[in-house]
């Protein structure tokens, strides 16, 4: 009578705190989907030199995999955050405003992939993903999660904590995917920002807990992604790859551990 247990627990519960159950076995909705993040500053802001080769790979890879693309923001989002911070606006307002840029980027990718089945989707279209995949489409959406005005205030700053890395990670988690893929302009994670520090070392594989403990001054993914991963039911790995290296995306989707893997330990 385990079912009744859950019902009874909730019937009396205030639901204001955690609810536990040993027999809850959540279903992975579409675990074979490959959720890819296309970087904003790292890829989109480089224009065709970076974007076209990646799209060429995506068109080929789409024949083998169900791909869902989530877009990053980039320099326009940074400009929005700069002006909004100057005006001392709340984090939730920044989160909403920052959402416009990745949506533009998603629309650009849709236009470029339209002839190959690229379709722009909104949060509300998420439940139609099975149809899009059945039709051989490449759904493309903003990487930003829909938190917007409801994003929690950030400590010691006002840049929203959950941005496009977090959104793409949570998309993969919602679909029950084991791994999410982040296409950026570096070979993965380093001990410091390789664009600024030449003596930095590449980290091919590391656990989220270790990374949280190392407390690096900078990271290639949003910190909150590590927190989400530690608590996640499905998405227990992210792979960060260099999209400027044409073979990397294909190798990653073929299951090769190129770039950096961050895993839930």
């Amino acid at each position: 009578m385990s079912r009744l247990k859950i019902s009874n627990v909730l019937g009396e519960s205030s639901l204001t705190g955690p609810v536990f159950s040993d027999d809850y076995k959540p279903l992975a909705l579409m675990p074979s989907t490959k959720v890819l993040k296309i970087g904003g500053q790292s890829i989109m802001d480089r224009g065709k030199a970076a974007v076209f080769p990646i799209l060429k790979d995506i068109v080929v890879l789409k024949e083998k995999h169900n791909l869902l693309l989530g877009c990053g923001g980039g320099t326009r989002a940074r400009h929005i955050y700069t002006i909004a911070s100057d005006l001392e606006l709340p984090t939730g307002i920044l989160a909403h405003l920052g959402g416009y840029v990745p949506r533009q980027n998603a629309r650009m990718l849709q236009m470029l992939l339209a002839d190959h089945g690229g379709i722009f989707i909104l949060y509300d279209d998420f439940e139609k993903l099975p149809l899009y995949f059945k039709l051989g489409c490449i759904p493309i959406m903003t990487g930003m999660p829909p938190f917007g005005y409801w994003e929690k205030p950030t400590e010691n700053g006002r840049i929203p904590q959950n941005r496009t890395d977090a959104g793409v990670f949570l998309t993969a988690e919602a679909l029950g995917c084991k791994r999410a893929y982040f296409v950026k302009d570096e070979n993965g994670l380093y001990t410091d920002d390789p664009k600024k520090n030449k003596n930095t070392k590449h980290i091919p594989r590391i656990s989220a807990q270790e990374l949280i403990q190392m407390d690096l001054p900078d990271l290639i993914v949003e910190r909150v992604v590590l927190d989400h991963m530690v608590r996640a039911k499905f998405c227990h790995e992210i792979q960060i790859i260099n999209g400027l290296d044409p073979l990397m995306l294909t190798r990653a989707l073929d299951g090769e551990d190129v770039g950096t893997i961050i895993y839930k330990g």
């Binding site: 204001t16 500053q41 001392e88 959950n162």
Partner: protein, 280 residues
């Protein structure tokens, strides 16, 4: 920031700003966006939450007197925004969904519907007094409604949907209606949130289950977090978020089954429980 030239020296096209080329993960970079103050968008508005299970599920005998009180309070010219919880149907939704093995994001996608249904209920009762259900897309119409003397009723659950972050503990979404209304108040720079429930306020334990639970008329946020009751009348997530918030100064919990309590709270009287963020 006056020079609007793009910078392209590293293969990327940048707009000049102090966040240009920066990693937004770097703590020093994030700290550049901090400041002592924060702009308050609608500081004089009071957020009011009507309990789902505590008020709504009791039906007419609890709802009608409270609706009359809200209608009367509206004439006081203190601008307010109202939200409603989902109550027992939300609990039922979650229990069936968990039994079916619906994953967390799917559960979060489902629950907001019951809160929205209660908002429509409340609106039907208050419409003749000028209430209006405010959909999320109409976020920026709030000043219009308030200037027009209307009573906006908002959807309490935040729009996290499939993207609900995994909870720190347990298996159900941690961002419910209490958090949603708090976050809504905070982003708009409101100072006060009133929760209308079926208890006089906060107790050291759930007074429905523990007859020896002690009433807490006033407490500071950090004190509450230090000795957090096992079952609390409000979402744990609300208090967690409050720690880093900048606007909400006071959360007041009143008993909506006792006539006059809500009005007294709206007018600033120390009824029920007052939780305050400790003055800086």
């Amino acid at each position: 920031m006056s020079e609007n030239k793009f910078e392209t020296d590293d293969g990327r096209t940048h707009i000049k700003s102090y966040l240009m080329k920066e990693s937004l993960v770097n703590r020093q970079t994030i700290a550049k966006t901090a400041s002592q103050d924060e702009f308050a968008i609608l500081p004089h508005v009071v957020m009011v939450s009507v309990g789902g299970q505590s008020i709504f599920d009791r039906g007419k005998s609890a709802i009608q007197p409270l609706v009359d009180e809200i209608a009367k309070a509206k004439q006081s010219q203190i601008p307010m925004v109202v939200g409603v919880g989902g109550g027992t149907r939300t609990r039922h939704t979650v229990s069936i969904a968990l039994d079916l093995g619906i994953p967390l994001g799917g559960v979060a996608q489902l629950v907001g519907a019951m809160e929205e249904a209660n908002a429509v209920f409340l609106n039907a009762l208050l419409a003749k007094h000028g209430s209006i259900v405010m959909q999320r897309e109409h976020f920026w119409e709030l000043p219009l409604y308030l200037k027009g003397g209307m009573l906006p009723i908002i959807i309490s659950v935040p729009p996290f949907h499939f993207w609900e972050p995994p909870p720190e503990e347990g298996i159900v979404p941690s961002h419910g209606s209490d958090f949603g209304l708090f976050a809504h108040a905070e982003v708009l720079g409101m100072k006060k949130v009133i929760f209308i429930k079926d208890e006089d306020g906060l107790y050291t334990a759930d007074p429905k289950k523990h007859s020896n639970a002690e009433f807490i008329p006033h407490i500071y946020l950090d004190e509450l977090l230090d000795q957090f009751p096992e079952e609390c009348i409000l979402d744990h997530q609300l208090f967690h978020t409050w720690k880093t918030s900048r606007h909400v100064e006071q959360v007041q919990i009143v008993n909506g089954l006792k006539p006059g309590m809500f009005t007294a709270a709206l007018q600033g009287e120390p009824v029920g429980t007052i939780i305050e963020r400790r003055p800086a």
